[in-house]
Amino acid sequence: PGPGRVRRDSLQGYKMDASPCGYCLIINNMEFEPHSMLKNRKGSNIDCEKLERRFKTLNFVVEVRTNLRQKQIKHELLTLSKKDHSQYDCCVVIMLSHGTEVNHNRFPGAVYGVDGQYVPVQHITNYLNGQHCPSLQGKPKLFFIQACGGDERDMGFEVSPDEVEPSSGGMDDQTDAIPMSSSSDSLSMSDEPDARPTLPTPSDILVSYSTFPGYVSWRETQSGSWYVQTLDCILEENAATVDLVTMLMMVNNEVSQNSAKGLYKQMPGSFNFLRKLLYFRTQT
């Protein structure tokens, strides 16, 4: 118990008081194999160190993996999903790498291994869903993705504009049928009157992207990426009192204002399927 922190409504908030709170896996891809045609990501180690420190402060067991190929990324995620999380309240995955566009209606985009082969974000999230990782069922699963392309100056990359193309219904493995039941992740979604998705809804998952598909993501070789710098600062200043989603709104505002001064725009995106507020428990 820390000093004087007022939690508004514990019924509405995820339980986050396990100690430690959960695992945090950081995959930091900096040095890419020559045949991948991807540049090394100078400055990423600064991002990695910041987030390692930050999530340790937030009471997570942090593991860092550096320069992983696609298969190794999958292996690490599988290993994480096989762990027993029943004593923990949360799980965090952070990916620092190059990225590319992949269409998906919930979690678009993909992250590269150092071999130039990518893993779609949707697959990354699937490793920890209720089906593949029962001990995280009903618990918040957070994904932070700093993904940029390679550029001559190692600063960023302009992704080709998103093309609007018709879907033939088979663009991903969730749309090949039209199930009309919305029951999926058991625990949730039983009492809302909203329009309901006719596909199983991912619950308790939040993906925070450094940038929307089709937008640039900036990294500076000396100070790290805009997104991670901002995320780290916002977490430092506000994690004790403010919920995660509100903090991500602060990150979005700050990064987009920052980028608005430059030639290109960067707008982080949060794709949020959490059901409750999330307050980190900060160390005192």
Partner: protein, 93 residues
Amino acid sequence: NDPALMQNFEARRATFAGVRHPIDHERLARAGFYSTGRGDAVLCFHCGGGLNNWQPEEDPWVEHAKHYPGCSFLLANKGPEFVNSIQLQRPQH
């Protein structure tokens, strides 16, 4: 309804002919949706995301952004700020 034909707004709107739907047909069609012919269930022609159980006060674009934030038709039409504003309402839904 062949999804490939549903890129066209008028084609989408035509699928609602004779359908009793709590939401205005034109607004649904503008937001990328066409009727599946089963109850109030609709699909987005672009991302394939489906929605049913509509409430009269709901906004098709808002629901699109809430449930299928990665849809690039949505992003191209409404922009990332809109999607963020829906996704970062708290708590969700």
